[in-house]
Symmetry: C2
Subunit: 334 residues, 2 copies
Amino acid sequence: MQRFINKADEVVEDMLKGFVRAHKDLVVATDDSRVIKYKEAPVENKVGVVTGGGSGHKPAFVGYLGKNMVDAVAVGEIFSSPTAMAFFNAFKEADSGRGVACLYGNYAGDNMNVKMAIEMAEADGIEVKTVVANDDVPSAPKDKLEDRRGVAGEVLMWKIGGAMAAKGADLDDVIRVSQKAIDNTRSIGVGLTSCVIPEVGKPNFTIEDGKMEVGIGHHGEPGIEVTNLKTANEVAEIMVDTVLPDLPFEKGDEVVVLVSGLGATPVMELYILYNKMEELLAEKSISIYKPYVGDYFTSLEMMGATLTVMKLDDELKELIDEEADSMGFKQFRG
Amino acid sequence: MQRFINKADEVVEDMLKGFVRAHKDLVVATDDSRVIKYKEAPVENKVGVVTGGGSGHKPAFVGYLGKNMVDAVAVGEIFSSPTAMAFFNAFKEADSGRGVACLYGNYAGDNMNVKMAIEMAEADGIEVKTVVANDDVPSAPKDKLEDRRGVAGEVLMWKIGGAMAAKGADLDDVIRVSQKAIDNTRSIGVGLTSCVIPEVGKPNFTIEDGKMEVGIGHHGEPGIEVTNLKTANEVAEIMVDTVLPDLPFEKGDEVVVLVSGLGATPVMELYILYNKMEELLAEKSISIYKPYVGDYFTSLEMMGATLTVMKLDDELKELIDEEADSMGFKQFRG
């Protein structure tokens, strides 16, 4: 395990200390060592935006704390849900009195802990509503949308929900657009190598050299097919052909495309994939309003990539255009 | 070789196509397929800022094209210098009539090709002056500064030179501050794994599991020592103790710290290193004016990290604070 760590069971703690020190201009620690917040949170008269999840997915989740983005994050151990208490404390740090939009991904542990945290928040007089991201197409059939996992589409959900909250919208409106964002979003991942959880010390799954796993999850959850490793253009085609029919995305649609690496794949290769993806979408007369290419939602040192596509309407376009300032998503207006 | 590529000898071409497509808001292709420029270049009445180098170092080099940064980049094959013609064409794309600052790293191929390109430019009436980055401490002794390689300190040189050019400074002043930036900058790399050049298909060096190479170069150039892999805190100490005495950085100094991953090391681990580095600098009463942590200058899927420290004065502070908009370095003012 070739890593810069101290003790395997202190990775998250050390990382959070360094993260807070490196981004003093954006974030601040709280009384709960597993809750980090935007330094301006709670922002007066603004709906709070909260997320949370396991660690090991940088920039997710703490990397999206910032201006017009997320107000507080509950941090879990590597690939493990944060506790209910951490979610509850994140709600408290984010709430200015106008309620909290908890925008997170569909995983059993997160669902359970968010539910308990909401009960705690209700007892405390904090209104919390949720949107549960489920953009990962290969994780369940279309008639079981509620079983699908949330993956890199969460980044776009935070961007949209964060921008809406920053405009002063009320909780119901922030929830409405965040739900619309994720309802209009579909993703797929392709894995090329495994990764090692520091406390485990060995890979918990394997992908043989020369093979690739289509539909892999962010924690190595099995995909829909293991095939021989194909060319980048063929991989792009498989990804596009899985994602587009599912919504479906159709001729004339305007979309955001987000291509993220899973960690160890050089960003160079993401551009090679994107090059073909843009061609494939153009052939279908789907136009890319904004592309994002980079490491937006990773899985430690897994090699692989994800494709996320979000269909836009005028409201989503306006919100995606808003300025954002966070470690993982920094954008000038427009 | 677990990669998303088409043909190994078309990696750079495919990557550049995708890069230009993904960043239409920032960059544009030119008549030379190995020259990419900032879409506004040449910027009227501004000294042009040019760099170039081998591919495989994303975001370097094309990722620093943009507002208040670099105007044109000459692109080489993976880990190989761009041609003299590419540098010359980059000069032409960047020159608005006020001359060109070519800010690049100290490698034999780049030195030779920049020199030839300058002769071509002179014949063409374009004034070009250079700053050659040599921030990599372990690459040569202090009395042979001219033999040292340029590494991640180049990013800070581009930031400073780019900001100065954007203020309307003349060529001599852009060169002066860029030279001051790199003269005040020291770096070190620690490698944990090798990487594979696509056309070669196998690693051209190896680092055994459980070992680390102190002082490794951006292309796997041998370091000063191979040791057992130490804890993150110990690695941070080795890096700081190599970099600080060399300038030397001293009590009361204000510095920029840039911690970059080499590619496959999860960004999480960079924060673990940074956490200790900030402590170590504080103990020496050196204060960090701005920290940058992330993948700023990589080497394909090498695991490892680099530390870069730049000593500031009032002029450098003002320039580092300037807004910047590029794929690899995006910053709001201040």
